[in-house]
Point group: C2
Amino acid sequence: MNSAFPPIPSFIILEQRAKKNIEKMARKAEISGVRFRPHFKTHQSAEVSAWFREAGVGCATVSSAGMAAFFADAGWNDLTIAFPVNVLESEQIGNLASRISLSVLVEDPFTIRELARRLASHPGCRTLGLWIKVDTGYHRTGIDFRNHQKIAECLSEASRHPLFTIKGLLTHAGHSYLLHDKKEKQELFRTTAEKMSQLRNSFSHEYSLEISVGDTPTCTAADSFKGVDEVRPGNFVYFDAQQLALGSCGENEIAAVITVPVAAVHEDRKKIIIYGGAVHLSKQEHEEGHFGYAVTWNGSSPGHLDRNNRLVSLSQEHGIVKIEGSFPRIDPGDLMAIIPVHSCLAANLLKDQTIIISGEV
Amino acid sequence: MNSAFPPIPSFIILEQRAKKNIEKMARKAEISGVRFRPHFKTHQSAEVSAWFREAGVGCATVSSAGMAAFFADAGWNDLTIAFPVNVLESEQIGNLASRISLSVLVEDPFTIRELARRLASHPGCRTLGLWIKVDTGYHRTGIDFRNHQKIAECLSEASRHPLFTIKGLLTHAGHSYLLHDKKEKQELFRTTAEKMSQLRNSFSHEYSLEISVGDTPTCTAADSFKGVDEVRPGNFVYFDAQQLALGSCGENEIAAVITVPVAAVHEDRKKIIIYGGAVHLSKQEHEEGHFGYAVTWNGSSPGHLDRNNRLVSLSQEHGIVKIEGSFPRIDPGDLMAIIPVHSCLAANLLKDQTIIISGEV
């Protein structure tokens, strides 16, 4: 029953589903009158980026200078590197800022001075956008939103260097990944926008600042993006088992699976050994304590999800699927599909082994 | 104090240490009179494989047909793909077996028949080695060593096809990764060899079978490899934080670190944000509940390990290092080094960003 293609672990993009996900988010941003700057670290694909362009998107977010160069080469001329700027890559950043409209994130005056010093001698770099990275509760990095003094120091330092254009205040409410209730996520979007808006007001006498927010859980939950200037979700293009658990998507909105050959079947233990391991799927663990769901694969679409069939163990290339729900007979040499826990990490691992399925699913 | 090179997260191989690790294992195998077939999935590097050749090693283990092709191109002409054979890659396997001495793993008669059927029409493939994959207690995959009937069925099926050369019985005692005591690991090596030897004896009237074992914890702990024909450890070339915890190596035998730029410093929280995430280090968690140790980096060697300085959180590109021991002042744009939890996974992720440091450390 399983097609025998592809013969090695592969990242399968279900084009129709991905396009629907893009369209939905793009329309929500449009109706809200908010700039949509999707995060491209999820797919890292020029082909997928073209689907965003078809949906009217003209700018994007990336997470490294290398990724910015990749998408600049693919024709994207307005990019934000949403990572505290790596000053060691100042030259590459200067090169990029000479060709496209580029912004980076900063969160301390020292780095701003350092960046200015290193870019001063760059022959082509005339301007670089700066966003102040603000921590509104996730506590990964950024300046605490209550620390007005440090934010003021950054704004002041940035304005000393004519090279820089101050863009505004940016945050990532990554603590949304702990919320399962839609109302709680909507509330987090609202309170994040409010914190950022109050912060902007504190500086409005001196600076004209935009507000940029974005993460897939709150951006899928929110009915409107009003109150901010820009949203930057990324994962929603594919979704995954993590987002499914959070209620960000339904099963039929998941637009990426990893197909894997069956290597051995242990019927007595109800276990299937797959050729698919940490080097294909990543060791990102699901909150339920597994590495993804196993479903059937018919050559063009994944079968219905039974959450009792799980990838319970992963080593470098081996995976062990435990079948505790129903699953049709399968033999070594057949394919099955895995719904990954974190599609971004699997997409990154299988960048060179990605297949787009364009038919309806 | 930190050199500013390399500017992006990089896998650093400390050549002198790696060569010592190779030499030590190669000599132990030589003294034991046992074939050394190191697992190359750890490094996946032609350059590192040349160090094995310099140490007198002439054969190797890999974990996929693609990796076998890579090392065949690098001049290795005797390889075992230590993974239950993926029959979907029969054509590539046939191509490889036409150029080099190649063996694969099997664990059920169905797959053996299927492989024979698919290879029957291959124009150049005259012979392919088969190892019966035996489970001696790890329970990942393989035939239970007490299931003589199934092993007999496999041997019988394999001997029906003139294409196949039956090599012997192969096991991976991966449960060694749970053992911290050297004596326990030595005991596991001994009992594994004993189980395999008894199994061989059961079939010695009909088949001439070799015994292949190998995993880094038991192979580093064992004083001698007597009792088996072949050992296949891989990780020992670099070791890592996991092997350090198991007592497989000392701090100064760890031959690979990942250098990462500092992106931000949160002195109040004693946290350093690094440009280094799951896409560089993998989300393999240490038994102590972290993703690696942070040490200083002076441009050519890692500083002394303080186990209180740990990489406590990892997202796609961000890492958070918590400093609870001593650590010199460090600023954004400086480099630090991470001792990875699992060097094989980090080496795989940073294959295109690997640097060899050849000086003494």
